[in-house]
Structures are given as C-alpha cells and as structure tokens.
C-alpha cells in the first residue's frame, strides 16, 4: 500500500448548503491538432520563384531558343507574345533584334554566378575573420571588430564606384565589390556565435582533454556555425543579385557583349517609350530571384535556428 493511503480523505466534514453540477464539457472545434505550421511546410513560394531562375542558370544553354548575341535588325523591337507578338520571340526582342528570352536565360547564369561567387568569397573571408576574433579574443578581437565597424561606415555604392574607378568595370569589380559589401555581416554574426559556442561545456571539456585549438575549431565550432552562415548566405544572395544589377546598370559591372539583366535594363531605358518590355521583363526576373532567395532564407532560418531572427 502506498504512502498515499495514509492521506485518505475524511468524509462528512461541515454542513452542506448545496450541490452544484459540474460545468459542461464544451466541444472545441479545433480539438484535433492541425499540421504544424509553416515551419515544416516546404517553402513552396520560394521554390516556385527560384526554380525557373536556377534552371535557366544551370541549364540555360540547352533552353535558349535563339542565340542571345545574334543581332538581327529586321526583328528589332518586337513585342512579347502577350502583347501582340509571336511565340517565336516569346518575350519580344530588343533594339538590336536579340531575343529577350534567350538573353534573359543567358543573363541568369552570369548574374547567378557572380552573386554566388561574391557571397561565397565574402562568406569565407568574413567567417574566417569572425572566427578569429571570437576565438582569440582580446586585442585581436577589438581590432578586427573596429575594422568591421569602419567598413560598415562606408556606403557600398561608393566603394564599388571607387573600385571601378581604379580597375575599371567588369566581373572582377563586381565580385570584389560584393565581397567588400558582405564580409562584415558574416564577421559580426560569426563572432557572436563563436563567443556563444565557446561558452559551451563541450568546448571546455575538449580543452581539458587536451585537444588542440585547431581541432576544437574544426570539430566543435565550425559545424555549429554552418547553419548561421548558410542562412546569412541565402539571404544575401538576393541582395547580391540586386547590387550586381545596379552596378551593371551603371556600366560598372558585367560588360557588353555579355548578357546581364542590368545591361538589358539600361539598354531598355533608351527604348522605353517604344518597347516597354525591354526594361520591364528583366526587372521582373530580378524581383523573382531576390524575393525567392529572401523567402528561402527566412524559411531556412526558421527551420534551422529561430534565434537568428535578428538577421
């Protein structure tokens, strides 16, 4: 018999004035738990937006209906199929008779490649700096963080423009500009995460067990940083595409005769009044890419680590 048996309730204590029936059990409509919310749900919209772009980027060569660089004056300024044109030039042509759809597809691979490299390099560099700062602490950390702050004190476009002034426009300029723009965010975030991770018990244990610094970093810190870095990178991809487009538009980025969305827009600006589709359509492609990567980044962040919502 359990101890509780010694607690048994005494009966019949006190004068009863009334006995009130129990409250009814209300039926609750949403009693059955519904599926967990958007966190588990696949990022449908993001994928919907990004898939065509990615497909264009990777498999563009096989999908282009025409040669994007082929000039054909007789076919100049043809409208897209939904504005009176034909399926042969589904999205219309530009002032030089080049098929817009083909140029769009071609430009996709260029823009994506540039954005990807820029962000990847920025990420690698920034992570290294952040990691060093967070691990070594002290004066090194102070110095590096001051550098980060200073870099954030200088506006991007300015830097890009300066860079272009020095080395001229082109692929290198854009990638370098992207690197310079984005590395600081990584450094900051990675340092913060490193500081937190270093407090963890398993790091202390590893130290006590005599693990070398590098080993600790490799086995314990880096894998945990991965999620932060990936989220940040995804979010930045969209921004990178935007910046690349802006620089290219200004003439500082990808140079003709290569195809790039920014170039299409700057060309299109001149022929706006006659052919509204030339600047409009590439812009829509940019919006799709940026929006898609933002949504994907948000979903990844919610999935991997909701703590990061300040990013």
């Amino acid at each position: 018999m359990s101890e509780m048996s010694r607690l048994h309730t005494p009966l019949g204590r006190g004068d009863i004035s009334q006995v009130v029936p129990a409250p009814e059990e209300l039926q609750v409509d949403a009693a059955a738990p519904r599926k967990r919310r958007a966190v588990r749900r696949a990022p449908i919209l993001a994928l919907f937006l990004l898939t065509p772009i990615l497909v264009f980027g990777f498999f563009g060569h096989f999908l282009m209906p025409h040669d994007p660089t082929m000039i054909s004056p007789v076919h100049a300024l043809l409208p897209p199929v939904f504005a009176g044109g034909t399926w042969e030039y589904a999205l219309g042509t530009d002032h030089m008779g080049r098929d817009l759809l083909s140029r769009l597809i071609d430009g996709a691979s260029n823009s994506l490649a540039v954005a990807f490299f820029g962000v990847a390099l920025a990420g690698a560099f920034g992570t290294a700096i952040g990691l060093t700062a967070g691990y070594l602490r002290g004066a090194v950390e102070e110095l590096l963080m001051r550098l980060v702050d200073m870099q954030l004190a200088i506006p991007t476009i300015l830097l890009a423009v300066l860079l272009a002034a020095v080395i001229g426009g082109g692929l290198t300029t854009v990638i370098a500009s992207l690197m310079i723009t984005f590395w600081a965010s990584y450094a900051r975030v990675v340092r913060g995460e490193t500081l937190i991770l270093m407090q963890r018990d398993y790091v202390a244990l590893a130290r006590v067990a005599g693990a070398s610094r590098w080993r600790i970093v490799r086995l314990h810190v880096l894998p945990n940083l991965l999620s932060v870095v990936v989220v940040l990178a995804t979010l930045q991809l969209g921004a990178a595409v935007g910046i690349e487009a802006a620089l290219t538009f200004l003439g500082l980025g990808i140079q003709p005769p290569a195809s790039a969305w920014g170039l299409m827009i700057s060309d299109g600006k001149l022929y706006m009044s006659q052919a509204w589709w030339i600047p409009t359509i590439p812009g829509i492609a940019i919006v799709m890419t940026v929006l898609g990567s933002n949504l994907l980044g948000d979903w990844l962040r919610d999935r991997l680590d909701p703590r990061l919502s300040q990013l």
């Binding site: 300015l158 020095v166 940019i286 940026v290």
Partner: protein, 305 residues
Amino acid sequence: MTRYVMRRLAFGLLALFAVSLITFMATRLSGDVTFLLVDLDASREEIAAVRVQYGLDKSLPVQYLAYLKHAVRGDFGDSIKYGVPALDLVLSRLPWTIMLSLTGFVMALLIGVPLGILAATRRGSATDLGASIFALVGQAMPGFWVGIMLQLLFAVKLGWLPTGGSGSMAHIVLPAIAMSWFSIAAFMRLTRSSMLEVLDSEYVKLARVKGNPEQVVIVKHAFRNSLIPLVTFAGLNLGTLLGGAVVIESIFAWPGVGQLMISAIGARDYPTVQASVLVTASMFIAVNLGVDLLYGVLDPRIRNE
C-alpha cells in the same frame, strides 16, 4: 554620457580618415595621373614640370600627407574636366542630393512607420497581410528598376510627370518615390516586428493593467521602446540613401553629387572624384554619429557604457 559621445566622435573621425586614405589610394593606384594633365605631345621637361607642380614626384606617404593637408583646408585641386575647384563643384551639387535624399527619407518614414504600427496592432488581419506582402515584394525590387518603371508608367505612358531634370516641384516626385521605395518596405517590416516584440512584453501589459487608454499604451510605451532598433536602422538608411542617390540621380538626370561622381569617373577627373566621395562619406558618417547620439538619448541603459 560625455564619454560615450567622445568615443563615437573619435570613431567617426577615424572612419573619415579611412575613407580619405582609400580614396587617395584609389586614385593614385589607377595609373600615372600625369598623362591626363598634359597634352599628348608634351615634352619630357613639361611632363616633369607638371609632376613637380602636382607633387607627383614625391613618395606616396608624402603625397598622402600633402593631400590630407590640403583636404583639411578644403582644397582638392581643380576639376580636370571643368577647371573649377573640385570642392566648390561638389558643394554646388550637394543641396540637390540632400533635397532628394531627405525627401525620400521623410516619405519612407511617414509611410513605412505608421504602416508598420498598423500592421502590428492589427496582427493577423487583412491589413497586416497586405502590408507584409507589399513590404516583402517591395524589398525585392531594385531601386533603379523601380525608378525606370515609374518613369515608364507616369512619365512616358501617362504623361503626368516629367521624366527627369529638376525644374519644378513635380520633378522631385518620381525620383523621391524611387529612392524611398526600398526604405518604405524596410521600415514597415522593421517597425512591425519591433512593435510585435514590444507588445508582448510585461511592461506593456502593466501599462494596460494600470488603466491607461489604449493610445497611451501603444504610443508612450510600445512605440517608444520599439524606436530604438528603428532609429539605428533609420540612420543607416539615411546614410545609404545619401550614398546611393547615385543611381537614381543618373536615371532621372537629377543634378546631384552622385551624378557628378559617375561622370567624373568616366572622365578620370580625380580631384572631383575624391571631393565627391569624401563629401558623401562625411555626410554618411555624420548621420551615423547623429544616430549614435540619438540612441544614447532614447535608451538610458546605453549611456552607462
């Protein structure tokens, strides 16, 4: 508090130095400037003379110091393209840039922030959803493209507003909208998330429980506390607007510093490039400093640092 101010000031100066150094290096590294300053068929002696005149025969650190000395006095040399002192040129264009940036900034604040508050207080409603979608898509649109689309729609197709230039009040509308586009979306999102976080806090609950009218709760307690991240962001934003007016100015042929900078780069007009970069950067740094100080006023906890 004064310690805090001093630190931020010192920091700002340091950043300014960094910019000047970078600008200096940029111009010097892009090749021997001398050849731009002389005629093509100049003789050796003339070239040498020009080098001495511009101090280009000295070592780089010495050149930098000389450059700094002049810069502090406001002397950047004459614009190679226009022949007038570079700084004067830049300063003459500055009011235009400030006007455009400020208009865009104020627009973004006046539209974005109230929209964010509205979305936060009516969480989950149609208003909230609509505003959030607008913000999400709006932030994905590149500023320069928005500018062109606005031009396309309102100037070319509808003819309501001019395509560019700077004649009248009407001329500022489209560029200002284009500039503020991204910021409206960003402000709205930030205000909304900041407010939502604050609205959930205990002190807001207490403010309600004291019997305050809802308006007091929202404005005095909730909004005041959500201001802090907002101010930081707003400052950064203004700085970015000031620095990023470049693109919008080109599209709308707005006679500001950004446009000057672009054409100066094309013409390899280094004094002008230097002057415009430094002026723009200074404004950016000054704005950030202002933000830091405002931050100190808004959040008493920071003052103790």
